[in-house]
Every structure is written in structure tokens, then in C-alpha cells.
Amino acid sequence: MSALGTASTKDLVAEDRSRTETPRRRRRRIHLSKMLISFAIGLVILFPLFPLYWLVISSLKSTHELLQAPPSWVPAHPSFGAFKEAFDAVPFAHSFFNSFAYAGTATVSVLVTSMMAGYVFSKYRFRGRDLLFWLIVATMFMPPIVTIIPLYWLISRLGLADSYLGVVLPWLANAFGIFLMRQFIGDLPDELIDAARIDGANELRILWRVVAPLMRPAVVTLGVFSFVYYWNNFLWPLTVLQTTSKYPVVLALYQLLSFNMSAQYENVVLAGALVASLPTIIVFLLAQRVFVQGIARVGVKG
């Protein structure tokens, strides 16, 4: 840890020789503050990673070892048995397929509908535009539980309760996507679009050929955000679905948890939780730089 501080400390000391403090003393002070900072950053890293570490080692433990008190901090005989059991106890593999279908469909649809709507809200002028836009944005602040009753009624009325379409239909567009795309597209110069119009391109072609290629950060940000959001969504599938074969991963996990309420299967539940989190973690790690910047950019302006 001390190695981190030394290089830049030397420069600082060289610059500030003229100060009243002796170089040696000043150097020690800077050194100390550097160490404190490294220590604090170490804590910041430990906070998210320790529970994840516990998740990994617990899922690798045997039932016997898991119930030991005091707990072991490194599994004595790591095995993947709990993972196999998780897949045997509930149709986990199938629920993965379901989750990819739900989250995938929703993500693609949100990207398309948001880009179209964001383009209109940022580049068209019509009466009531801003009112309509802010009405939509206001719904971002609404907890989903508030509309769950009529939403469930509506989907049942359409004959879509307990169906793939019933899960996905309300997910085909969202206010956050429209908001994000309007911000990103709004930053494009109008001249770019006007030039394409003068060249005789129609609006769909402009959107696809001119706007979309410049929207890579927006597409990545919104894509990752939507995929994660819908992959993790628990309340809505819980409300619409009854048939276990249509369950997404998070509901399969819930099933696993309720089957295994007794502590002796905790390693199986934890193994399930680990597997269920992998797709979103992988997607995040692949896109993280662009995604985090995108989220920050939306935050700054919003």
C-alpha cells in the first residue's frame, strides 16, 4: 500500500521545498494521508465484495460445513454439488431461457420505441410537446406497486394472464428510455438531420442511418439498464404468472427458496442466487465504462 504513495509524493515535495515545513516532515504527512486514502478505498472495495465473497464460498461448501459455528472463511472441500442440486430442484435452466426471452424482448423493444419517441420529443415541435413529455417523465417517479391492481386486471381482461405476452406487453416501452433518448438525441445538431432531409431521406431512414449510428453510448446505456431492470423484476412476473414452466429466473429462485426453507439447503439456494446473478453481472462488466458514463450523464442533466 505504501508503494502507491511514494512516486507522486516526491514530485509534490520537490515543488514545495520553500514552505516552512521541513521536506522530511511534510513528506511523512503526505505519506500518511495517502495511506489513509488507500485504506478508505480498501474499505469501499470490501463493502460490495465481502457479501459476494460469502455468496461464492457458501455455495461451494457442503451442507455440513455450512452449518458449522463458527463458520469457516474458506471452504474446506469446495464442490459444485450445490449447483447441481439447484438445477435439479427447480427447472432452473428453463427459467434462464424464459428470463432471456422476457428481458431480451423488452430490451430490444424499449430501445426501438424509445429512440423513435426520443427523436420526436427532441427534434419535432408541436403543441403540447413538453407537457406530454413531462407527464411521461413524471411516471418514472411512480412506484410500480401503485398500478399493479389495474395492470393485472387489464392483462387478465386481454386473456393474457399467465402468458409470455402478458409479462412482456407492459415492458415494451418505458418513461426512462424516452427520457434518456430525448437527452442524447437532443445533443445532436439539427443541421445534421436537416441535411439528411434535404437529401430526401425519409424520417425512418434518418433515424436508422443518421441518428442511430451516433447513439452507441445511449443504446449501450439504455440496453444494459433495461436488460438488468427486466431480468431482475420480481413483482410483475409474480403477479401475472402461475405456471412454473413460464417462470423467469428470479421466480425460480423464489421457488428454490421456499422449497428449501430449512437451513440445510442454504448452499443450494445460494448457488442458485449466484447463477441467477451471473448474466446481469457479465452484461454489466462487458459494458461498464460506457454504461456508468451514460448513467452519470443522465443524472447530471436530469
Binding site: 495517502k34 459476494l52 457458501s58 417517479f141 395492470l151 436537416d194 425519409n202 461498464q288 443524472g299
Partner: protein
């Protein structure tokens, strides 16, 4: 329904550029049609699955309804659902639980995110990038999995947190299984999952503060502490208000860990409002009362959001 709304709303009010085809009027009509076409998919979904359900929730809240009978036949009861829920000690304690939970989340998250944001923005350190990735990564983990992980950490007899308490000679709390600690224990789930997200927002706010301010201040001899209180915190207030708003909205929605781990207990100590609404509607079949709860929640949230947004606007002036 949607088509009427769109054509009323989409009539373009300004000609965008010279050199277009046809007359000004046909040009406008042309653009109006494209606008309606491009807007309609998103607008249709938002109207059918967001706007209409909000209106329906308000409508249902004035009726007696079990969700089993046709919605057209539900009897009108006026404000009686509202009277019933506010007279009900369970709902009142659920409001209290929600206020405590949300209050704790906001009171802990915002200072922590500010502090960590500054820590990951100002000093030079090789671990900064890794720290922000690790911190943000928890945001993408399903809440259901978060609940399971923390359930294991909180295990009173062989969990690691109980072990840490014992190591420093303190009696291990019962965490989720005692009414006095359960709600507070749930707060950790939310903070663990969301802290990275709020920190990123804080860092974004920090990047908006001009660097020259710090240069001038340090020439004037202001130290780190002085700079923090005279430059960073005052100029970060807008971002902080925004983070408070987001954290509040996010915390109010807490449902998954309660449903999975505590079912509102022990002794209703974790019976937060989302859980109470879901239980009232889908377990007790009292959709009218559940809707009245939803509307009350919306009204309160709307008022709080308006105040916070008003504060933000005032400060940005």
C-alpha cells in the same frame, strides 16, 4: 383512443427549415404524420399500461372490489376505503415502518455516497477504478439474490456478521428474526445494492464543479477541509437533492426482500407499504382498500417530489 390524442397533440406549430417540398401546410402535415407514427408505439404502451392504470387505481379506490367480480359492477363507496385504511392500526404502523425505512436509507446513503464520491474523485489512487466498478456492480444483482445473500450474512447462529459481533465481545443481534432489529437490518440490503449508483451520480455532480475554484482556493491557502465545506458541498447541493429524491423513490418501492424473507414480520415490524398494498389486494382480496393505499402513497410522493424539485430549481438559479 390513442389516435385521437396524437393528432390533437402532434400538429406541428413551426416550420423547421426552408427548402422543403410543397407548401408550408403540407410540409407541416407531413411532419405531423411522421411524428405521430414515430411516437405511437411508445405512447400506446405508456397510455395503456401507465396512464390508464393510474386513472383506474384512483377510480377503484372509491369502490368495493375483490378483483373477482366484473369491474363494471363494483359498488361505489365514496371515501369509505380511505376512512377504513387510516383507521386501521396495521396500515398506520405500515406507514410508520415505511417512513422509518425510507428515512434511514436516505439518511445513510446520501452522506455515504457524497463521502465515497469525493474519495473516488479527488485523490489519485490506482484502486479508484476498481473500487467504483465493484461498488456499482451490486446494482445489477437481482434484488431476490441480494435478499438471499444478506439472509445468509444475517444468519444468527452461524453467519459471518454474528461471528464478527462475537469477535469484538458483543452479543450478536437476532437481525431479521427480532421485531426490534428486522427493519433496520433490511436497510442494509438497499444500501448495499444502491450505494454505487448514487456514488456515480455524486461523482457526475463533482465533475461539474470547475477545477479553477479549487486552484484559486488553494492559492489562498484553503486546505482540504475548508475547500470541502466552502466549494464542494455548496456546489453539490443540487446533485444531493436529486440523489435524495431518487433514493427516496427507490426505497419506497422496497418489496422483494420483505416478501421473500420476513413477510412483514416479525410482529408486523417490516410491513412496509408496498408489501401491505400487495397483501391487501392479492391475499385479502380488498382491491378497493389497496387502491386507496396506492393513491395515498402517490399523493404523498408527489408532494415530496414537488418540494425537492422546487428546491433543486431554486438552487440552480
Amino acid at each position: 383512443m390513442t389516435a385521437g390524442v396524437q393528432s390533437a397533440v402532434l400538429f406541428p406549430s413551426r416550420k423547421r427549415h426552408a427548402g422543403g417540398r410543397g407548401t408550408r401546410r403540407s410540409r407541416r402535415l407531413h411532419e405531423g404524420r411522421w411524428g405521430a407514427f414515430l411516437l405511437s408505439p411508445a405512447l400506446a404502451v405508456v397510455i395503456c399500461f401507465v396512464f390508464a392504470p393510474i386513472a383506474l387505481t384512483i377510480w377503484i379506490s372509491f369502490h368495493n372490489w375483490s378483483m373477482l367480480t366484473p369491474i363494471t359492477q363494483m359498488p361505489w363507496v365514496g371515501l369509505s376505503n380511505y376512512r377504513t385504511i387510516f383507521d386501521d392500526p396495521t396500515f398506520r404502523s405500515s406507514l410508520m415502518d415505511t417512513v422509518i425505512y425510507v428515512g434511514l436509507v436516505v439518511a445513510l446513503t446520501v452522506p455515504l455516497a457524497t463521502l465515497i464520491g469525493m474519495l473516488l474523485y479527488f485523490p489519485r489512487n490506482r484502486l479508484k477504478g476498481f473500487a467504483s466498478t465493484a461498488l456499482f456492480a451490486t446494482y445489477v444483482i437481482p434484488t431476490v439474490a441480494v435478499a438471499i445473500v444478506w439472509g445468509a450474512l444475517y444468519e444468527p447462529s452461524y453467519g459471518p456478521l454474528a461471528e464478527m459481533f462475537k469477535a469484538v465481545g458483543l452479543p450478536a443481534p437476532a437481525f431479521l428474526s427480532s421485531p426490534s432489529t428486522a427493519l433496520v437490518s433490511l436497510v442494509a440490503f438497499n444500501i448495499w445494492q444502491m450505494l454505487g449508483y448514487y456514488t456515480v451520480l455524486m461523482i457526475a455532480g463533482l465533475t461539474q464543479i470547475p477545477g479553477e475554484l479549487y486552484e484559486v482556493a488553494s492559492i489562498d491557502g484553503a486546505g482540504v477541509v475548508r475547500q470541502t465545506f466552502s466549494i464542494t458541498l455548496p456546489l453539490l447541493r443540487r446533485t444531493m437533492t436529486f440523489v435524495i429524491l431518487i433514493a427516496l423513490i427507490n426505497a419506497v418501492q422496497v418489496f422483494d426482500p420483505v416478501y421473500l424473507l420476513t413477510q412483514g414480520g416479525p410482529i408486523n415490524s417490516t410491513d412496509v407499504i408496498s408489501y401491505e398494498i400487495q397483501r391487501t389486494a392479492f391475499e385479502y382480496g380488498l382491491a378497493g382498500q389497496a387502491s386507496a393505499m396506492s393513491v395515498s402513497l402517490l399523493v404523498v410522493l408527489g408532494a415530496v417530489a414537488a418540494i425537492l424539485l422546487g428546491l433543486m430549481r431554486e438552487r440552480s438559479r
